[in-house]
């Protein structure tokens, strides 16, 4: 494009395209400012709390109109408030909905929110699916577990290797008898893939119901799921919501007589084992056991160390506390004679364990030697939380001995709703509960199970924690049940959400989390804007001072650079992050450098005595080469970062790469066009440079 006019027209087109893509961002920014203004006004008019308004304003299931209507404020005020409400929910909302998706998105670090990477525990899934487990199987699995926790491996390749080294065929545990290892592995691979896909759908379902605006849920590699949850107010709840498996099971509690037998046998077994060993080796042994223990129960690690030495005193303390309740149990007073039973506090109905003793009990019942003494059809489960008991309301946990086989699971659930309980039952009335409803099949099974077990207790178990274990008084044929014992309404709501969305096919673990509180996000935006403006101003002024009129041209090119960079971000729906802003600031440096290269070269040529036009000509020609080389090398690192970087680095690499590309255009094309515009008609004697 030789002619100056053609180049200027091209430049104008580029500007127009940039403006077209940037307009929604500006508009959206204005709208969100207007929104906060309107909300504050509405809050003061209607006497409703601001944060409530902010949370509920656009929800269809909340009738704010009726609420405002029912408050006792003056009719004039009411009229105005209702008008504002209608505007916000009408025209304004439509505008927001139109512009928001077209505006530049802010990353989680700028708007606050949560980034979670969950890993689906495929190994656990394999464990669950396996049949005929034996010691070889245990060995293979535990080796896979350690391998998986320390480095990234292909689980299935490792499984093949481990099985080969144990000379075991995989069809012993999975698939059809006689099936080849390859066939079993490919089936397992498929079912793992399927499990991850299903988990993703279930998580999406949960998140949607949790109410996060514009979440993003994507698969990351073969076993991981990345969740982006912008603007999450309560990260702990969100983490709990996505992290739980939500496996609901109904399990019969083992009858007291049999339970007592099992406990006594276990106690005797432990005592017999301990008698043979000195006190010192016991301690060593138990700490070794602790290391073996499947770390499913969470709070063992920290308490464990201190606990061993304290157990005797703790046990006697607990005995004193619950002396009346202990009357009917077989507990002896010394921990040595009854190493297991002395840790328990028996009530008439429940086995209670004080908070101090819990980790010790966990270790005892999960130790491999002791597991053998527990009949294979039953298992120990804990209550979902500690509750105060005894005279001084000390925290105790309930230990349940239940049938391993679930009589009914959450798959037969039709619906779950959180509500405030009613009726006369003190466990329910006025407390948050979750009402569950079974499908027709589920209702039939439930009726059969309850009918056959009148007088026994049925544990309602969610993710291996017992929420309640009521006695069955009658056959229940209505196909409905209630979960009680919940802390608060949010918990009830979250449990109903996960129950409706269904259980994950395998447990998930958080392997990476980045949470930015909303206040930090706000601070970062402010800091970012401030830095950008300050750096910008400093560079603009410096260029004006050092290069005069040419400096103004450079400044124009730099502004254009930022404008086009943002335009490209908006056009391709890229996300702007804090490192992204840093990338923009660095781009500014590159833009200045390109112009400095050109100007210094022109100055040199002028010093050699060339005419203005010739100096510009050679200056640009020489500088162009080096600008290309310099920007391409920077772009190389940018692209490498884009490909291999993760998370925050990507945001930085993105703005840098786009910025460098735009830079070549503004420096070589735009600056040149402006120069030519000035020198085309007039024969300049001097150049302001």
């Amino acid at each position: 494009m030789k002619s100056v006019r053609a180049r200027l027209i091209f430049l104008l087109i580029v500007l127009a395209v940039g403006a077209y893509y940037l307009y929604p961002t500006l508009k959206y920014d204005r709208l969100s400012r207007e929104e906060s203004h309107l909300l504050i006004e509405l809050a003061s008019l209607s006497n409703l709390p601001l944060n409530r308004l902010a949370a509920d304003i656009y929800r269809d299931d909340v009738d704010l109109r009726a609420e405002i209507d029912s408050t006792d404020i003056s009719p004039v005020q009411k009229e105005e408030a209702l008008q504002k409400l209608d505007y916000l929910r009408g025209d304004f909302l439509r505008n927001m909905k139109y512009y928001r998706p077209r505006a530049i998105k802010l990353g989680l670090d700028l708007q606050g929110g949560m980034y979670l990477v969950l890993e689906v525990d495929v190994l656990k899934m394999l464990d669950n699916q396996a049949k005929g487990k034996d010691e070889v199987f245990d060995r293979i699995l535990s080796r896979l577990r350690t391998a998986e926790q320390t480095r990234s491996i292909d689980l299935f390749d490792a499984l093949r290797e481990q099985a080969a080294s144990e000379r075991a065929t995989l069809s012993r545990y999975w698939g059809e008898p006689g099936q080849s290892d390859d066939a079993v592995l490919s089936d397992l691979r498929k079912s793992a893939e399927d499990a991850v896909d299903r988990s993703l759908e279930i998580l999406r379902n949960r998140i949607d119901q949790f109410g996060v605006s514009e979440p993003s849920i994507t698969k990351l590699g073969s076993q991981r799921i990345a969740l982006e949850l912008p603007g999450v107010k309560d990260p702990a709840r969100a983490r709990e919501l996505v992290g739980r498996t939500a496996l609901l099971e109904f399990k019969l509690v083992v009858e007291p007589d049999r339970a007592r037998d099992i406990l006594t046998k276990l106690d005797e077994g432990v005592a017999a084992r301990l008698r043979g060993e000195s006190a010192d080796s016991t301690r060593k042994d138990s700490s070794k056991l602790a290391a073996d223990t499947v770390k499913a129960k969470t709070d063992t690690a920290q308490v464990a160390a201190a606990d061993t030495s304290r157990r005797d005193t703790a046990a006697t303390e607990a005995e004193k506390l619950f002396s009346e309740q202990m009357a009917d149990t077989t507990t002896d007073t010394t921990g040595r004679a009854h190493p297991f039973l002395s840790l328990l506090v028996g009530g008439t109905q429940n086995i209670l364990v004080s908070a101090e003793n819990r980790s010790r009990v966990i270790r005892l019942i999960s130790a491999r030697e002791n597991q053998r003494m527990i009949p294979s059809d039953v298992q120990f489960l804990w209550s979902h939380k500690a509750m105060p008991a005894g005279e001084d309301r000390k925290e105790v946990w309930v230990l349940y001995l239940v049938k391993k086989q679930a009589d009914l699971t959450g798959t037969t659930l039709e619906d779950a709703q959180s509500t405030i309980g009613s009726g006369y039952d003190p466990e329910q009335a006025g407390k948050p509960v979750v009402n569950i409803k079974f499908t027709r099949d589920g209702a039939r099974t439930f009726a059969r199970v309850t009918g056959a077990n009148v007088g026994k207790r049925l544990g309602i178990v969610l993710d291996d924690k017992v929420y309640m274990a009521p006695s069955i008084r009658d056959k229940i044929s209505g196909g409905a049940a209630v979960i009680t014992g919940l802390d608060d309404m949010p918990e009830a709501r979250d449990i109903s959400i996960v129950l409706r969305a269904g259980a994950l096919p395998a447990p998930v673990h958080v392997v990476e989390e980045r949470t930015v509180g909303p206040s930090l996000g706000r601070d970062s935006v402010q800091a970012g804007e401030f830095c950008l403006i300050l750096a910008f101003a400093a560079v603009v002024l410096f260029m004006l001072w050092y290069y005069r009129l040419s400096g103004a041209i450079a400044d124009f090119a730099m502004i254009l650079n930022m404008f086009l960079l943002l335009g490209v971000l908006a056009m391709f729906q890229f996300t702007l992050t804090m490192p992204g802003i840093a990338g923009m600031i660095l781009t500014m440096g590159m833009a200045v450098d390109a112009n400095v290269l050109i100007f210094e070269r022109i100055r040199e040529e002028l010093r050699l005595g060339k005419t203005v036009r010739a100096a510009i000509e050679t200056g640009f020609a020489r500088a162009t080469v080096v600008i290309f080389d310099a920007n391409i090398t920077t772009a190389i690192t940018g692209v490498v970062l884009l490909i291999y970087g993760t998370g925050s680095i990507k945001g930085f690499a993105l703005t840098l790469t786009v910025g460098v590309t735009v830079n070549v255009f503004t420096a070589i094309f735009v600056t040149r066009a402006v120069y030519d515009l000035f020198t085309e008609r007039r024969q300049l004697k001097t150049l302001s440079i």
Partner: protein, 303 residues
């Protein structure tokens, strides 16, 4: 019209060995300190772990927070100050199987230890040990790939010894920046990695401007020897070098002062990097080209 430099004639090439000895010993000192401390100070990004940043309504000391969290596997507890902002406290913990539970316990203990003092979670980073290892590997791969591509590109545009000089200049910059990060107790995080990769871009940019002038002068001034041409080229581009480095330094300084704790490590590495990047183009990359050319070509032949 203001000019910093009109026409300079500084002998850059002459004292190259003395200056290399200086920065070389800084690098060695940095490496020794790093080794004495048991390797680079990896952030949880690369090491794995849990980092919570909390802010109290009325600031408390990190010692008190550490005391409040006794009984948990707490690593580092430190105060983070930033300009015009209340202090924050960063708590490092070993990552447990259930990071949610660990976080809950921290918050419980903190609100129990400082009743009436509202505590707010500003930032949480959890990186599983496996992910940490993966990130470390990715970082290494990106550095190697970037260097390889640069080597190829510069070899193509200039000549192999230029590429070698450029990349060794980058190695020098990386090591020197890491030495400074170690001296000033900055940890090696993802952000710092990004900063190092950027400063590599800047450093190579700077190097290429000088190389470009050498390439041009080699064609123009055939009677001069390479050392003279290098000195001339560095002097000719000095004005541009100083102006660009100054403006970039200025923008990064703004980030360092006002960018908040999120960008502190990043901007510090950049501050050091801008200086070393400029320095290495003159005193590392160019001399390497000179030494190589003097050893590998017959006298009088070009390059």
């Amino acid at each position: 019209m203001p000019h910093f430099f009109k026409k300079t004639n500084i002998n850059f090439i002459g004292p190259r060995f003395k200056l290399l000895a200086v920065t070389g010993s800084v690098i060695v000192a940095g490496m020794i300190v790093m080794i004495l401390r048991g390797g680079p100070d990896w952030s949880i990004d690369f090491r794995g772990g849990l980092d919570m940043q909390v802010r109290f309504e009325t600031p408390v000391s990190d010692g008190h927070v550490r005391a409040a969290l006794s009984g948990m596997s707490v690593g580092e507890v430190k105060t983070i100050s930033s300009l015009g902002q209340p202090d924050e406290i960063s708590v490092r913990l070993k990552v447990a199987e259930n990071s949610n539970e660990t976080q809950r316990q921290v918050m419980e203990k903190l609100s129990a230890a400082f009743p009436g003092n509202k505590v707010e979670v500003r930032n949480v980073d959890v990186v599983g040990p496996k992910v940490g290892g993966e990130l470390r590997r990715q970082a290494a791969i990106s550095a190697i790939v970037a260097c390889a591509l640069l080597l190829i590109y510069i070899s193509w545009r200039f000549h192999f010894e230029y590429a070698l000089g450029g990349v060794l200049g980058l190695v020098h910059d990386t090591l020197l920046t890491m030495a400074f990060l170690t001296f000033f107790n900055y940890e090696f995080s993802l952000q710092v990695l990004a900063a190092i990769l950027t400063l590599l871009g800047f450093s190579i940019n700077d190097t290429i401007v000088i190389y470009d002038r050498i390439r041009e002068n080699l064609k123009k001034l055939r009677q001069m020897n390479l050392a003279e041409i290098m000195n001339l080229s560095i002097n000719e581009t000095l004005s541009r070098t100083i102006i660009t480095s100054l403006t970039v330094f200025m923008t990064v300084l703004v980030l360092f002062i006002f960018g908040g704790p999120v960008l502190r490590g990043f901007s510090f590495a950049m501050l050091v990097g801008v200086v070393t990047g400029t320095y290495s183009s003159i005193y590392v990359s160019s001399p390497i080209v000179l030494e190589w050319a003097q050893r590998h070509t017959v006298k009088g032949k070009k390059r």
